[in-house]
């Protein structure tokens, strides 16, 4: 046995081998079928089981679906038509009810001549969201904005929107599309204004109300800036107190006076006219928008090293997460009046939004806490080392990154909340699923109709939620790629 063995003799390849295609039995349809459906007995059984399930489902519902009636004035007419067409004893779906009432499922009891207003608000929402949700890619932003513009303007035209507003919406979209290309940061201004404009478009009335509400924020900011020179502590207190005082004592009167001077009113629509998906979306969106700041505060408090602050935040979050939303809704409808000064009485939708906000904030806090925890410590340290104080570090460095990481979680929270808005039926609001269906059934024409409204509402929910969940998955993947 030698140190250097025969086989270790030198070897040099003089010509490189080109790549070859893989052997035949390793590709093709048969191979796919074999490896994906029938590899082994267990898999074959599963495949057969799957086919069986699909066949059963289709078999059961096919007849009912194919016997669909789209044109009828009432359930009895539907039944008659089905019997006429498909013979005695056959059953079928009566989609005529959807055809007749789908506007009601969508807009509730919103005045039909004003349907264009929520439509516009919803369309412009995409402009407001563009910098937040679609900031990643120019192409996607372009697609979203253009699609939203076309659909919204088309819908507004069909719903008979006044020319002024059509032009306005078109102008906003055009400006947004241009801004998205040139200076995306301009879009943020619209995002900031949108909550106030949205409220105005939905509820109508005087524009001065939202303007004065916005004023409160401006005043808070001014107070912060002014007092900030004196002491950060005072600034913080001023930032909270000044807007609060303004809103409680002055804003209402100021809005009225201003309205008297220059009238900026559109027809008002009372909350009790909200229903259907309009109600769900309104509650869901306001819940998310309002719960975001509250959630941020709670998350920061929960991560704080101050014992009392942390404890209170934990207690609040755990309390809210420990009770069902339905209980909180009952609090909104039954108990909130006990907790507020005698004689205060405000809109049930507003009360529900408050409770939904509080509910969502607890979940949001957990989502954002996750985002905060995902940031490397180095970011905090670098901010410290540069001399930024706590709030500046949070605002400039930590939160922008943490919120971005949290967007998928926020979207999931929103999906959950959007689905949960169906529970408002238990406090007498017209959610699309139960109350609205029941309201439709309460008309003599459609009394007794059962499956069709449920299926319709379910499908719409599915489309919206599925779309959003896919979107959040897409975001998640993107973020994973970015954050390597």
């Amino acid at each position: 046995m030698s140190e250097i063995h025969a086989q270790t003799a030198q070897y040099v390849r003089d010509t490189m081998l080109p790549p070859k295609p893989p052997p035949e039995n390793d590709s093709g349809v048969v191979k796919w079928l074999r490896s994906n459906l029938f590899s082994g007995p267990v898999n074959t059984i599963l495949t057969i089981l799957g086919i069986l399930i699909v066949w059963l489902l289709v078999n059961h519902f096919w007849g009912w679906f194919t016997h669909s009636v789209w044109n009828a004035g009432s359930l009895s007419e539907c039944r008659q038509l089905i019997v006429e067409r498909w013979g005695e004893g056959s059953t079928g779906a009566c989609w005529a009810v959807i055809r007749e009432r789908w506007m009601q499922f969508t807009f509730g009891f919103y005045p039909s001549e004003l349907y264009w207003r929520p439509t516009m608000a919803f369309g412009l929402l995409f402009v407001a969201l563009a910098p937040v949700l679609f900031s990643e890619s120019r192409k996607i932003r372009r697609i979203v904005l253009v699609t939203a513009a076309v659909l919204t303007l088309g819908a507004m035209l069909l719903l008979g929107a006044p020319a002024v507003w059509l032009i306005f919406a078109a102008a906003v979209f055009a400006a947004a599309i241009v801004a998205a290309e040139q200076r995306p940061s301009l879009l943020l201004i619209f995002s900031l204004l949108f909550p106030f404009l949205g409220v105005w478009w939905l509820w109508g009335g005087s524009l001065w109300g939202p303007i004065m509400a916005l004023m409160g924020l401006v005043l808070g900011w001014a107070a912060f800036m002014l007092l900030g020179r004196l002491s950060p502590m005072l600034a913080g207190i001023g930032m909270l107190l000044v807007p609060l005082l303004w809103w409680v004592y002055l804003a209402g009167a100021a809005a009225q006076d201003a309205e008297r001077l220059i009238s900026l009113s559109i027809p008002a629509v009372a909350s009790d006219r909200f229903g259907g998906f309009l109600l769900s979306i309104t509650i869901g969106l306001s819940g998310i928008a309002l719960s975001l700041p509250l959630g941020i505060v709670l998350a920061l408090a929960r991560r704080s090293d101050m014992f009392l602050v942390k404890t209170m935040s934990v207690m609040f979050i755990e309390f809210i997460r420990g009770v069902p939303l339905i209980a909180l809704l009952f609090v909104a409808s039954l108990l909130l009046n006990y907790f507020l000064p005698p004689g205060t009485n405000f809109d049930i939708i507003l009360r529900v939004i408050i409770m939904v906000t509080v509910f969502a904030a607890a979940y949001m806090a957990e989502v954002i806490r996750g985002g905060l925890a995902a940031l490397p410590r180095g970011q905090y340290e670098a901010a410290d080392a540069l001399g930024l104080d706590y709030w500046k570090a949070q605002r400039l460095i930590i939160l922008p990154q943490a919120l971005k990481i949290s967007i998928p979680g926020i979207v999931s929270t929103f999906i959950g909340m959007f689905k949960d808005t169906t529970l408002v039926t238990f406090v007498g609001l017209y959610d699309p699923l139960k109350s609205m269906s029941d309201a439709v059934r309460a008309s003599t024409d459609w009394k007794g109709i059962y499956w069709e409204p449920y299926i319709f509402v379910g499908v719409i929910f599915f489309i919206i939620c599925f779309g959003m969940s896919r979107y959040s998955m897409y975001l998640e993947r993107r973020l994973q790629r970015d954050h390597r």
Partner: protein
Amino acid sequence: MQVSDEVAISISNMNKWYGTFHVLRDINLTVHRGERIVIAGPSGSGKSTLIRCINRLEEHQAGQIVVDGIELTSDIKNIDKVRSEVGMVFQHFNLFPHLTVLENCTLAPIWVRKVPKKKAEATAMHFLEKVKIPEQANKYPGQLSGGQQQRVAIARSLCMQPRIMLFDEPTSALDPEMIKEVLDTMIELAEEGMTMLCVTHEMGFAQAVANRVIFMDQGQIVEQNNPHDFFNNPQSDRTKLFLSQILGH
């Protein structure tokens, strides 16, 4: 450090594809018992894939691999036999984080070799001493430094008393200070006559212990030679280019 005539691994005309991508092309390689082979080559050249084919972590599609007289086919029994004869150490250690160091080392002997626990633990302690970390036996992998973890990974493989050891870039995830301690362990192992296949870029190590250096590129064995000639007198242009990059740095 003697090499026997006995063949430990023999690979002939082996080909492998990932989908339609031809990763390994016509590989022919015979490894004798007691040989220490270092495999080098640019990233993506198929070094890891080759090594992983030897204990069937990847399947090859054409050609033959015979390990210790057992041909690797889809027969599960053969695969199990081969795997318990061949130890493998990964780049990222892949220790089991939920088990202590000792449990990591005794898991396979107990469940695969059916060794009594006491005996398995004694063996494990023996190998832990060999890699110089007997005092860490009851810690969890997460509590050790990278170099210590890699040494545990080596000990874990040794506990199965394999006749062949495969190393896939065992030091490339380590800090410079820790590389040395792992290499020392491997050198010691080599001196005991273990058959070793090692993918590494540590040329010092290659020169010190390898019988043979194999250079791979584009899924092919481009050059093989004894370390001295390989480094001082490379034949192929590719090898020269590669060496200039590695050593010039």
